[in-house]
Amino acid sequence: MFSLLNTIWTVLKTTFRKRATIQYPEERPHIPPRWRGRIILSRDAHGQERCVACNLCAAACPVDCISLQAAEDRQGRRYPSFFRINFSRCIFCGYCEEACPTYAIQLTTDFEMGEYVRQNMVYEKEDLLISGPGKYPGYDFYQEAGLAVGGKDKGTGPNEEPPVDVKSLMP
């Protein structure tokens, strides 16, 4: 009986306690920088697309919401001819970001993606591509991958070693 009264009194004492609710549209919640929100495609320091259309993100995606088509330009750079993410399927697990070898696909802190028409949830490449490098400034896949592309020869990039002569026995 007294425990019941004590309960009532304890609840009554919390009357002027600060409320836990965040009044969302006016009051913004804190979003951590690693938040898994809207997916973007980033560009490297030279303003070129990072995506090399390797399809690893599409393979990693557990709900198959990513689809893309690989293509190659005259310089030998691979790029996606289209890149489509169906955000009405996306579960924002971030596996695509983990799978990406070139830091091209990244998840951002944006989460306000409501739409009235379901078709508008399908984002094409021009909706996904941003102008900057996203979370990894200064990273350029082709400068480090040891690949001959667009006038740059094998092993001449800043973080590359010259190619090994496989026909010689010397170390």
């Binding site: 019941l4 009532i8 609840v11 409320r19 609710t21």
Partner: protein, 319 residues
């Protein structure tokens, strides 16, 4: 002529304010409950979310009014009306202020008790007519609970009636000029309030509609405005029990400085808030605990209270 007009104004004024209060209580409960759960509750529609009531009403009106094909149609329709009718009838005898009441009945305490007993029909019939297992269980629980708590609800009031020497609520309020009856009749008040909570089947005594086991009990099959009637009836029941508690134990409209109607409203409001506070804090007992608490604790307490009050009154009369 002017007398009739005066009565009509009072009648419709009370009816209007009671029904408005019943609607606003939905908002009040949600806000208060939110307050005690560190939330805000409905605060978007209109000032302080007050228009939430209007939004809810529109929603309830627009809902499909579905009567299950297996239900007993006539009884199914009557049941939600019964609870609202009996509660509004009970409000007829409550004195709001000197001269402001619908009827000055000389057995108004008995009238209120009779009306709240009739309220059992609403839930029992609703549970019965729905022809669904959850509704039936809820209806059975409701009738058993309300009948057993009805017993000592009446008994706990007899002490007040003895002290005031009248069944008339107006006389009872007048008899509290010097001392509120909550002081000499403290146990009567506690038992009456507990019985009142059980009578309105509010938490923690909401076993007839225990969501965790009975979906929503006797109104499982109800939708639309019929469901709304049950809700309005429940909230009006809260207001009624609060108003009765104030009238019987807390001096009704009596109080310094402020006009009597304001005092009555203020005290009633506090008790309504207390109802919500109890809902916010207490868990629901098991059904057998509810029954044994009623018969083994509340009934003896109210009987002892009755005997002791009678003895004290007799002693005073003799010496």
């Amino acid at each position: 002529m002017t007398d009739t007009f005066h009565h009509l104004v009072i009648l419709f004024g009370i009816l209007f304010s009671v029904l408005t209060a019943g609607g606003l209580l939905i908002w009040l409960e949600r806000r208060l409950l939110a307050l005690w759960q560190y939330r805000y509750g409905p605060n978007r529609v209109g000032p302080f979310g007050l228009l939430q009531v209007a939004a809810d009403m529109i929603k309830v009106f627009a809902k499909e009014d579905w009567i299950p094909p297996f239900a007993d149609k006539a009884v199914f329709i009557i049941a939600p009306a019964v609870i609202v009718i009996v509660v509004v009838m009970s409000f007829a005898v409550i004195p709001w202020a000197p001269g402001i009441e619908v009827v000055d009945l000389n057995v108004s305490v008995l009238f209120v008790l009779a009306m709240s007993s009739l309220g059992v029909y609403s839930v029992a019939l609703a549970g019965w007519a729905s022809d669904s297992k959850y509704s039936l269980l809820g209806g059975l629980r409701a009738s058993a609970q309300m009948l057993s708590y009805e017993v000592f609800m009446g008994l706990s009031l007899m002490g007040v009636v003895m002290l005031a020497g009248s069944f008339n609520l107006r006389d009872i309020v007048e008899a509290q000029e010097d001392l509120w009856f909550v002081v000499p009749q403290f146990f009567g008040f506690v038992v009456f309030f507990i019985a009142g909570i059980a009578e309105t089947h509010r938490l923690p005594f909401d076993l007839p509609e225990a969501e965790s086991e009975l979906v929503s009990g006797y109104h499982t099959e109800y939708s639309g405005l019929k469901f709304g009637m049950f809700f309005v009836g429940e909230y009006l029941g809260i207001a009624l029990i609060s108003a009765l508690t104030v009238t019987l134990f807390f001096g009704g409209w009596k109080g310094p400085f402020l006009p009597p109607g304001i005092w009555f409203g203020l005290k009633t409001f506090l008790f309504i808030c207390f109802f919500v506070l109890i809902r916010a804090s207490l868990p629901r007992p098991r059904y057998d605990q509810l029954m044994s608490f009623g018969w083994k604790v509340c009934l003896p307490v109210s009987l002892v209270n009755l005997v002791v009050t009678g003895a004290v009154i007799l002693m005073r009369a003799t010496y």
